[in-house]
Structure formats: C-alpha cells, structure tokens
C-alpha cells in the first residue's frame, strides 16, 4: 500500500508533471514566475489548495453526489465548491493565521479559476481513486507544480542578464525555457 502511494506521488509530481506534460495551470506558471520568492509563495498556495480541494471534492462526490445519483452535476458542483472554499480559506487565514496569510494567502484569489485545481478533482473521479489516494494524488500534482514553477523562476532570474533575440524577449523565451524543462522532465519517465 505504502509503496503504491509513493509511486503514485512520484508519478503525479514528476513523470506526469501537471504543467510540463499536461499543460494545466499554465497561466500562473508563466505569469507569476518572475521571482523565486513569489513563485515559492504561489507554489505553496497551490499545494495547500489542491490538497485540501481533493479532500473536499472527494468527500462531496462520495458522500453526497454518488448516494443521491447527482453525479452528472460534478463539474458544476466542483467548481463552485472550489471557488467558495478558496474564498473562505482566504478570510479564515486573514483573520486567524496572519503569518500564513502573509506568505500564502495573498495568492489564493489568483487560484480560483486555475484549471489544475479543477483538473485534479475531475481526475480523482475519472480514475476512481478513493479519498486517501485522491489526496496523495492531489498533493503530488501540486508538489510537481511547485517544483516546476520555482525552477522556472530561478532560471528566469538568471536569464535577465542574457542577450535574447528581440522577437523572443519577454514571453517567448520563457516558453522556450518551459519547453526545455519539459524535455528534461520527460527523462523521469524511466523512473517508474
């Protein structure tokens, strides 16, 4: 059991990396990766939200949607639940855990319509994961996101001093970098 979950974690975080091989969450990946500090904050917030949302949506699916036969409402329910949850989380952190709010909370509103969060929730249903497996899968996926956004930000900080062809300045070179990172991540396919 433990080995299985560990393998799932590695596969979700590195082999099938959420941004670099599945293209989910591309917007924050390209948008909030200028500085390592902000990238780390975003990564942390994503880990927090995805892990929590896979738990919550997993529970809702198993104990509300399946028994009542409303499984066809999953897309609608999931996205509303995620949006509401993020909102509550932000208010809660702001009021009660101010230190955490300072470091992670400010990124929460940016995540509401992030496709990676909804993607993980739908994946868990489609792949028939039980709650624990779903949470591990979500955690792994989010860690994969955090690792790749922090790596990209570190590369971008170094790249500021490079001489880049005019047409590729700005977004162009960032996307090329992401492509090279994706090639590197392809190498993880041999791990499991």
């Amino acid at each position: 059991m433990f080995v299985k979950l560990l393998l799932l974690f590695i596969s979700a975080s590195l082999v099938n990396n959420v941004v670099l091989s599945r293209f989910l969450g591309l917007c924050p990946f390209l948008g909030v990766s200028k500085k390592v500090e902000t990238a780390a904050g975003m990564g942390g917030a994503i880990i927090f939200v995805i892990t929590l949302s896979s738990l919550v949506t997993g529970l809702i699916y198993k104990f509300i949607l399946v028994p009542s036969g409303f499984t066809y409402l999953q897309t609608i329910v999931f996205i509303l639940v995620i949006a509401a949850m993020v909102q509550f989380l932000e208010m809660f952190l702001k009021k009660n855990v101010h230190a955490l709010y300072e470091s992670l909370g400010v990124y929460l509103p940016l995540i509401t319509t992030n496709c990676a969060v909804l993607g993980v929730a739908l994946d868990n249903v489609q792949k028939d994961y039980d709650i624990l497996t779903g949470v591990i899968y979500g955690f792994g996926t989010a860690c994969g996101f955090a690792v790749s956004i922090i790596l990209l930000a570190s590369i971008r900080e170094k790249m500021e001093y490079n001489d880049i062809p005019e047409a590729f300045q700005g977004t162009g070179i960032v996307v090329v970098t992401a492509g090279l990172m994706a090639i590197a991540f392809c190498g993880f396919a041999g791990v499991i």
Binding site: K4, F70, Y72, L73, I76, L80, Q126, K127, A189
Partner: protein, 203 residues
C-alpha cells in the same frame, strides 16, 4: 442593503436550480446513447478479436473482483479484469475467450482492451475499448495490420511472462511510446494469467 443581499442570493440560487434541472433532463436523454455507444464499442471489440465467432456468452460465475485478485496473486500489479466472455461459433463449438482487461500506467491513464485467447492458449489479437494515449505515439497501440504493435501479439502463447525489449523481453515497443507498450504488455500478461486460471480450473 440586507434585502439586496437576499435578492442576489435568491437569483443565484434560481439560476443554479434551473441549470441543475436542465442538466438532469439532458442526462436522462443522453443516458441511452452513451450506454449504447459503450456497448457498441465492446461488441465491436469482441468481433475484432474473434471474427469467426457467432455469439459471445458470459463465463459462468464470473466475478471481476475475484478475477482481478487471481491476476494480483500471479504477481501482476495494476491490472483489472473487467469481464470474460466465451466465444462460440455458429455450430456451437467453443473457440476461446474474450477477456476484458484494464491496465493502469499508460501515458494518458488507464488503457482498456478486449483480448482474444483461443482455447489452446494462443493470443488472437486485442482491440482497445478505452484509450487516451498521445495521438501519433501511444495511439499506435490501436493500429491493426502488418507491422503494427498489435500484430506481433498474434500467436503468442499463455504461460510466458512477456516484456518489451527495453526490459529484456522480445516485444518490440511502439516507437517513442515505451510507457504505452509496457502498459499493454502488462495488461496482456494479466489477461493470460487469468486465462490460465479459468482454463486450468475447467479441465
């Protein structure tokens, strides 16, 4: 102020309820076509692996959980046996089995396929029923005919532990799609393991 809040919430609730009801109606309408599409895909896959068969009957006392356990006991992880059917020709002779296998660990998730195994334990080919591999790479697993990944399986016999060339076996992987090839190979090994358990028990 308070009234406005209530009004806003009410409108939103109304929209949600109407949307939910509309979805329910569409769900009821499309339920039949979806079920039919899935059944058609399965039937087509039976025919694909046993072209001479006339009918397919359920194997007596088939239990998906028990069958999957048999495969797991044989040391093959992540393979589910979804169904097992006996292929019978027009004159009533048993030709072999169609075994429904779902193998985990493809590049785009699980791969489901029907594999045909003749009564003497020879592979009669397979047909995928649910696959979402990369087009142009892993999707070649669905190809038929000479030179395809599928064609090399025809005539392979139960009782051997098959592996792709990269892992020291003799199965030629689909070019650029080792993960898909491994997933298929694992699934077929699982199907064979289950075949041996039913064929062994029947004799």
């Amino acid at each position: 102020m308070k009234n406005k809040l209530v009004h806003d919430a009410l409108v939103l609730t109304m929209i949600t309820v109407i949307a939910g009801a509309a979805l329910g109606v569409v769900y009821e309408i499309t339920k039949a076509p979806i079920a039919k599409a899935q059944e058609d895909a399965l039937n087509k896959s039976y025919q694909a692996v046993f072209a001479d068969a006339d009918s397919f009957t359920d194997v007596d006392g088939f239990d998906s959980a028990a069958a999957t356990q048999v495969v797991a006991d044989a040391g093959i992880e992540g393979v589910t046996i979804d169904f097992a059917k006996e292929a019978v020709d027009a004159s009533g002779n048993a030709l072999g089995y169609v075994i429904g296998v779902t193998s985990s660990g493809g590049y785009g998730g699980n791969i489901s396929f029907s594999m045909g195994v003749t009564s003497d334990g020879t592979m009669n080919g397979y047909a995928t029923t649910s696959i979402s591999e990369t087009a142009g790479l892993g999707m070649h697993a669905t190809d038929k005919g000479t030179g395809s990944f599928e064609s090399q399986w025809e005539g392979k016999e139960a009782g051997t532990d098959y592996a792709v060339a990269k892992d020291g076996g003799d199965i030629v992987a689909i070019s650029g799609a080792t993960i898909t090839s491994r997933c298929m190979t694992k699934g077929i090994n699982g199907g064979f393991a289950y075949f041996q358990s039913i064929e062994g028990g029947a004799q």
